[in-house]
């Protein structure tokens, strides 16, 4: 059973790496642009020039899907790294602080956990300036995800660090005068079994959150491609009648999320 899960993890990692390489090759190919509009070919089917057809504005769907994939995966990885780092910092500090400070830190975690993500995301995202550039909106979307994702992980890290604080080797180390940075240096490798799965679990969660936010019109701004923005195409029944390539983004998104879930699964 464990062997099967470990094997699926390796296969999923290789498949995802392959998809990333293909997407980079498509985006970096000469003359490919996610924003270039072919005005003569809106809503075109597959052709040699546009292998997955074009959208309503004549933009190459293959290039846009590839760019959305890279943007979303890159953003989710960075946001996940930030959120894991924040959780590690808060959890460790709370575990090694007096009970009052730890209680306060956990109260703050409870406050964040009491709110469904999407509401907070909507609240912050909607209060951005009306003139926000697409690149800035992408940065803000993933930064907000990182800022809201840490409390659940911080609680787990707090419990883990608390256990390590009371361990014999830690008591011995502290009794021998180990302080601050030295403790962290020894503590972090021991917290890795907690932090690594948290990091991996957050990536698909952030990709889904970005897609949901984009589908509500509160995600990454046009002309930057995003999963959410492309899911909006499914609302256009006229477009669905003309080409089946409209389903490419949702199909690919589901495949990528399945691969990410397989990588994040506990072995």
């Amino acid at each position: 059973m464990r062997f099967r899960a470990a094997r699926s993890k390796v296969v999923a990692s290789w498949l995802l790496a392959g998809l990333v390489l293909i997407a980079i090759a498509i985006v970096e190919a000469p003359s490919s642009s996610y924003s270039h509009q072919d005005r003569d070919l809106p809503l075109a089917g597959a052709s040699r020039l546009h292998p997955a057809g074009t959208d309503a504005l004549g933009r190459d769907r293959m290039v846009r899907v590839s760019a959305a994939f890279l943007l979303s995966l890159g953003g989710a990885i960075v946001a996940s790294a930030l959120t894991t780092a924040a959780a590690a910092a808060v959890g460790t500090l709370a575990a090694f602080s007096p009970a009052g400070v730890a209680g306060l830190a956990m109260l703050v975690c409870d406050v964040f956990l009491a709110l469904p993500w999407l509401f907070l995301l909507m609240m912050v995202r909607s209060a951005l300036p009306l003139t926000t550039s697409p690149a800035h909106s992408a940065e803000v979307t993933f930064l907000v995800l990182a800022a809201l994702g840490w409390p659940a992980c911080a609680r787990a890290v707090y419990r883990g660090a608390q256990g390590l604080r009371g361990s014999e080797w830690m008591l011995q180390a502290r009794a021998e005068g180990l302080r601050g940075r030295q403790i962290v240096r020894h503590l972090l490798p021991n917290l890795m079994p907690l932090l690594a799965p948290q990091f991996l679990v957050c990536i698909p969660a952030f990709v889904i959150a970005e897609a949901n936010l984009g589908a509500l019109g509160l995600g990454i701004g046009e002309p930057l491609p995003s999963w959410g923005g492309m899911l909006l195409e499914l609302d256009n029944s006229a477009m669905l009648m003309r080409t089946a390539w409209v389903y490419l983004p949702i199909g690919l998104l589901v495949l990528i999320l399945l691969l990410l879930e397989a990588i994040a699964v506990e072995v």
């Binding site: 909507m122 589908a215 509500l216 499914l234």
Partner: protein, 285 residues
């Protein structure tokens, strides 16, 4: 006595969380970079002087203290403040929608629990996890709620309850399957099975009481998941509920409405969390 003290402490913590949610949300929105910008400032029909005056007016009414005072004042008056978008008391907007959302969530949660419990009982009976049960759950979890809702709308098959049920059932199944699989491996259950105790009796008398604390924790998780799915589901299916109102308020920067809905969500989640945390004490009482 100990139970009452624990309950009071927990209620105090819930109240503190709700107040911190209000304060935190107000600070978050007030200091978001575009809170003071007004859509009218982008309208070319307004003269430069008018736009400067609009910005100045927003700046004057946007002090944090004043915003908090307005919010708390609205709550103490019992109308939850006045909506910026509709210019009516927020309570008038929320009350009818609360019933719609409550009914949608209740139906989805009950159906999802029934589905997940049946599926996990069947799935956990086999020695190894079967793809027959795991694959649909994994697939459902990999589809964003908005996409699932849009596809349902396109094929004209299923409504908001079905989408929320499928999403919740997939999550609940994942958790329940793992919990039940662990429970089935308990030594006393293996002994009871060897002695010929019927499966139905084992489930009713041994497994369900044993996993009751986990089930309560799952109930809290179900509420949080359902609340998160509310917005895309209600917006895409045009259900006049709280999720749709929150989305409309977010699009129109209607802070009083957003804050009131956020507070209702926080109360629902913390109360549900309180019930699951105190399960042992409820039972002792």
């Amino acid at each position: 006595m100990k139970f009452a003290a624990g309950l009071l402490k927990r209620l105090g913590r819930t109240l503190a969380i709700v107040l911190l949610v209000v304060f935190g949300s107000t600070v978050l929105v007030r200091f978001a970079p575009g809170y003071l910008s007004d859509a009218r400032e982008m309208d070319p029909r307004y003269a430069g002087a008018a736009r400067v005056e609009l910005a100045a007016e927003a700046g004057r009414s946007g002090s944090l203290g004043q915003m908090l005072a307005t919010e708390i004042g609205g709550w103490t008056q019992g109308n939850l403040g006045i909506s910026r978008q509709y210019e009516v008391p927020v309570l008038e907007l929320i009350l009818p929608r609360l019933a719609v959302t409550g009914s949608l969530m209740l139906r989805a949660i009950v159906m999802a629990w029934t589905l997940a419990l049946c599926a996990s009982l069947l799935s956990s009976a086999s020695r190894n996890p079967s793809l027959l049960w795991q694959a649909p759950a994994a697939l459902l979890l990999a589809v964003p709620t908005a996409a699932m809702a849009t596809v349902c709308l396109l094929v004209d098959g299923g409504g908001p309850v079905l989408v929320m049920t499928l999403l919740l059932a997939a999550r609940d199944f994942k958790f329940l399957d793992r919990t039940l699989r662990k429970a089935w491996r308990d030594e006393h259950l293996l002994q009871a099975r060897a002695q010929g105790v019927t499966t139905l009796r084992l489930v009713r008398a041994h497994i369900l009481p044993n996993i009751a604390p986990q089930l309560l924790a799952l109930a809290t998780l179900s509420i949080v998941t359902a609340l998160s799915a509310l917005v895309p589901v209600e917006v895409i299916f045009s259900v006049p509920g709280l999720g749709q109102l929150a989305w409309s308020a977010a699009m129109n920067r209607d802070l009083p409405v957003l804050l009131a809905i956020t507070m209702i969500m926080a109360i629902a989640v913390t109360l549900a969390g309180m019930a699951s945390d105190r399960e042992d004490q409820w039972r002792a009482a």
